[in-house]
Symmetry: C3
């Protein structure tokens, strides 16, 4: 693996999932990352992603340096040829090259603005780091994807499935704020690449990017979609069509005990944080069906499997770290 | 020890103090904490407490992850059954459970609001973590107590005492801001549990919580109280009765060289930071009698003794870490 | 070395440079810093300096604790005898002494205000730490100097020089904000102490502190100065005479391809971050002549050489760490 910016950087998903579950079972990890540094650069705040990735890196023996670009007001210029006489103090060309001197792997978080769809889809931050960094780059959630979460979710389903080809339903739920599509996008991509029966359900107007959805079935009636589900992934997102807008907060889409009744005693997933009694009701989150904490724990092993891939020299694949 | 949230979590204070002093003498510490992670969660800023606890953890071989909840604006919901459609993005149930996945021990700092006495006394943050975390919880200063400081203070007195049963005086001093009662509360509790002659002196209206003071003598005349003291602990706190209020900034309570004359050449203590010439005068702080830096150094060993207790599997007591 | 606050703390610059280049070649570093803690205290934001110094410390096996005094609003009192009844919560006497308990080396960054020249030149923050800390102090950029950058620059020139005594030109360049003189000051000091032919060029009114410049040639015509240069160090600074002011943003001083033509195919240096097409043009920064990334990488080895000096007990020089 050369970078981990999207699912397309993985060439053998099943094997990567197996590696993560192996790490979970026997985390003697040891010294693969000894003397190596992970630099984590946050343009947006992070708690869960930071902690799980930092923990994963340290389990591998790496040093971790955390940079909060949002707070230090480190305004980067991304445009080629810009005359930098205003508020941008450093060009991405230098920034990425310099971080590549101090770090063996760079992990970056950069949320979408949710105002300009074309701009968000250009993934300018992530793609600029890919272009100008001389070390591997990891996506800690970008404008349109969250592949560490997507990998976590695939791991969790493979780990907990009780039938060979479980039915997995991604369902939209209401939320008082406009949220990115990055988590559902990555979930869809990962589900399309493991052996499950997968459908999406959301209100009219909330269909995800057709380039992501491809030929996955989208049902606009939640009750129909939930029928016989083995896994239900509950998540809010803002409209892709009417970009970044909240079209409805329809409470009938809140995932409740009644909805759970429609499923095949489904495991209920969410990436967290979750707003109780708005997205998912207490009676579900406090039940045995909720696997959200189990899922959060798997974040560590997903990150560790990815870091291991980027670090590990092996007969089958070389390390992608830069020779210094 | 299962948690370290208040003095009641210690069942053998003398022995814990002895362990801390042993660590101070021979800090080969080694690898008790190797592969274990301390998560430090700050709802309020911290410098001294963070550094000493971080240092203690690293001396034990632990990894440390610091989370500034105050700055990341990570607003937690603490109420059961809340409909979370406003500013709180995550419920403590998930937050504590998730942190328990990434950390082997969670340390939390959460100051009082000093507006609503009943609310502060409920210690909702600390008690919620105790309830919902599946790993040990350490109090890094809460609404009503600061047991790492209290332990440090007990260690310092046991280490420096020159008579078998020294006279220890806790004296109030003026301060321009309304401060919590957490440090004096913990000091009182620890003094009540070691072999000293202990009295408190403060102006009328500044008596601490009677549930903490119990049958400890409180004297409202500072000069009388200081007579023959071997240790004087100087500290400001806001009124408990007229909750959170500053009733006086009476400079006659400032601890001066004249006050020191009244004592038995007392050692002068303060938890720091100290406002010079308001709380304690230069001539005292710059004298041999001041042991505030020595005391600050002991913060490390108090934290290390507590962490060791939580980590250490021993014949007499098991580790309280969660099996993962 | 007892501290590293200015170039005067180095007694054998050539040897220190050689040590840094040796570390760059063979960074097995090992365990010199094992069990030792570097505390980094920032009164101003830092990215490059923090990362390179943190990395250097970790390569030596040290633990690193980062403190952002700017954000935590930790207002220190520096005046002797002050009555601290206003916004300053702690005196430098206690602050430095307490940090010396938790850290084996303290590194401090404190920028100038650029309002009051006398105050900036007093270097009150750095000198107070030197006075009140009981452990070595490292300057991470202060009001009037940036000796880690200066050492880096000397290392880079010694490493890349192709003639025995290269011609080095420090040239002013325009910038939209008033910047400190600390980087050019330290560059001048280091150039005066290695075997180079060194001149400074800047517009009238921008002459640096005569106490720093000493008998170094200053030329006010950039084209004349650049002739046959082997190294060009481009940097903006605000006026020393008309203290902290921007007197001109004259674009004819921007370092362009045409300017490069005047030199002896010079290596172009800058401490970064650099504003493209304001300070240096794209055609120069994107050419083989620019060594700014190479130079940034050397920050790590400069910091490591300094830390090694402070840590290393050797036959020739003892460790300067405090016995605890």
């Amino acid at each position: 693996m050369e970078n981990y910016i999207s699912i397309s950087d993985i060439d053998d998903l099943q094997e990567l999932i197996a590696e993560a579950l192996q790490l979970k079972k026997d985390n003697t990890a040891a010294n693969l990352g000894k003397g190596k540094t992970l630099g984590m650069l946050f343009f947006n705040p992070s708690l869960r992603t930071r902690l799980s990735t930092e923990k994963a890196a340290k389990l591998l023996g790496m040093d971790v340096m955390v940079m909060n670009a949002d707070k230090d007001g480190w305004a980067l210029e991304f445009e080629d040829g810009a005359i930098m006489n205003s508020d941008k103090a450093e060009h991405i060309k230098e920034a990425a090259a310099v971080l590549s001197q101090y770090c063996d792997i760079i992990a970056v978080r950069a949320f979408p603005g949710l105002k300009d769809r074309e701009k968000d889809q250009a993934e300018i931050v992530m793609n600029s780091f890919r272009k100008y960094a001389s070390v591997p780059v990891i996506n800690l959630e970008s404008a349109t994807g969250h592949p560490l979460q997507g990998l976590t979710d695939a791991i969790t389903i493979m780990e907990l499935q009780q039938v060979k080809k479980p039915k997995v339903v991604l369902t939209w739920a209401p939320h008082p704020r406009a949220l990115p599509q990055s988590v559902p996008n990555s979930f869809v991509e990962f589900m399309q690449n493991i052996d499950v029966e997968f459908i999406i359900t959301n209100p009219e107007g909330y269909d995800l990017d057709p380039q992501i959805v491809k030929n996955t079935t989208v049902v606009h009636d939640q009750d129909t979609a939930l029928k016989d589900a083995d896994f239900v992934y509950v998540k809010n997102w803002s409209s892709f069509n009417d970009y970044g807008k909240i079209l409805t907060e329809d409470k009938s889409w809140t995932f409740s005990g009644d909805k759970l009744e429609l499923t095949n005693n489904a495991k209920v997933m969410h990436c967290l944080p979750v707003r109780r009694n708005v997205v998912i009701n207490d009676e579900v989150l406090d039940s045995e069906n909720a696997v959200v904490i189990h899922q959060a724990n798997n974040r560590t092993f997903a990150a560790q499997a990815v870091l291991q891939r980027l670090l590990a020299p092996s007969p089958r694949r070389g390390s992608y770290l830069r020779e210094k």
